[in-house]
Symmetry: C2
Amino acid sequence: MVMNVRTLCLGILSLREATGYEIKKMVEKGVFSHFIDASFGSIYPALAQMLREGLVRVRTEDDGSGRPPRKVYQITEQGRQALQNALNTDPAPDKFKSEFLFQMLFMERIDPAHLAVIYDAYLEEQEAELRMLEEEAQTMPAHPGARFVQDYGRAMLGTAIRFLKDKRAEMMRAFAEVGGTGERPEENAPCCGGAFSSSAEKSSVNGED
Amino acid sequence: MVMNVRTLCLGILSLREATGYEIKKMVEKGVFSHFIDASFGSIYPALAQMLREGLVRVRTEDDGSGRPPRKVYQITEQGRQALQNALNTDPAPDKFKSEFLFQMLFMERIDPAHLAVIYDAYLEEQEAELRMLEEEAQTMPAHPGARFVQDYGRAMLGTAIRFLKDKRAEMMRAFAEVGGTGERPEENAPCCGGAFSSSAEKSSVNGED
DNA sequence: ATAGCTTATATCGGGCCGATAGAGGTTCTT
DNA sequence: AAGAACCTCTATCGGCCCGATATAAGCTAT
């Protein structure tokens, strides 16, 4: 599939007319945000290019003041056709990049205190996105496609959150000796419900390096 | 976190020495493949740059023939320090790009026959990655970080697969004559339109396990 | 023996991100 | 009323990175 910022813009413009700025906002906060990214640096050139190619047309709203005029873009019939062609092709494999998991892979080398901070921040991030998804599910008219994506997101985020909560205790137990040295580290992490303080077992976490 | 191809290479080289080609293979098939990507076009320049900066050193194995000599890279103490610094910074948010979900968002406009093909191909893809993960979990020595990442991957892929299987039946039921729970690839209808939106059912995947 | 896959190097065009800039609006504080 | 801070809206630019491509040889199978 020809899935670039151009196709993304066509997809959004097929739902409603919009300015480049509005497209950015929809990509940031809307349904699209869960599986796509796009910055101004790619949206504006994409719109300009598609305008040249006749896939979109533009209506300029100049209010007379010195500020830049709103450029409201609309999809053309040719653009609809291009989008249709893209939709009827095989999708490329997903791409997933996670610095968090990279760090988790090397967790043994990270300062335990900082590890806890990273971990909880990530968990909170996932919970925030789930909240956003739920909220958005109530405001948006749920056409089948949107429903599917929302349900998918719910399922995945739910699993991630459950996993992170489950594993947290286990993880921190493993590092308890390195960080606390026999002390009860309840002063550190706000959200860990006492799972820290269970019997400190001996663990050979400290590997090479 | 300074998570670019350089940091990735440092991470791999901190585990063992490797050529650029080997790094690519590890990124393609190893634990890293689940949450990171890197191509030759970024790996080779990254190694060259880090060599200049003293973060890695290189041992050239020339076998006398005309073919390009193996360049085996090793991390230096300075490189270890750079990696350590990177690991002790906050991770950037995850990035997830899915052409499949983009297409699902517009499922109503996709030819149902093709939609089924796309859907099953994606499902198969997820199952293949889960198989890869399980296989890799048995061969690799499971240090805590790797275990965490593998378990995370298992949980997520398991949920995705279950969701896709569950929703598929629901989708096909909504399509009614398309093929029930089995598959009937020969399909003529241009677009399903409203036939889909009426039946809104709850999926068991959303809740708890 | 020719085709095709694998190991191994490396470059290049182009896509895209993140930062930046500029101009005016609103909103909240001091 | 002045100022700070943030929002809407435009757009560009450096630099990172992907995907395609080139080169060269070995190994395997038909």
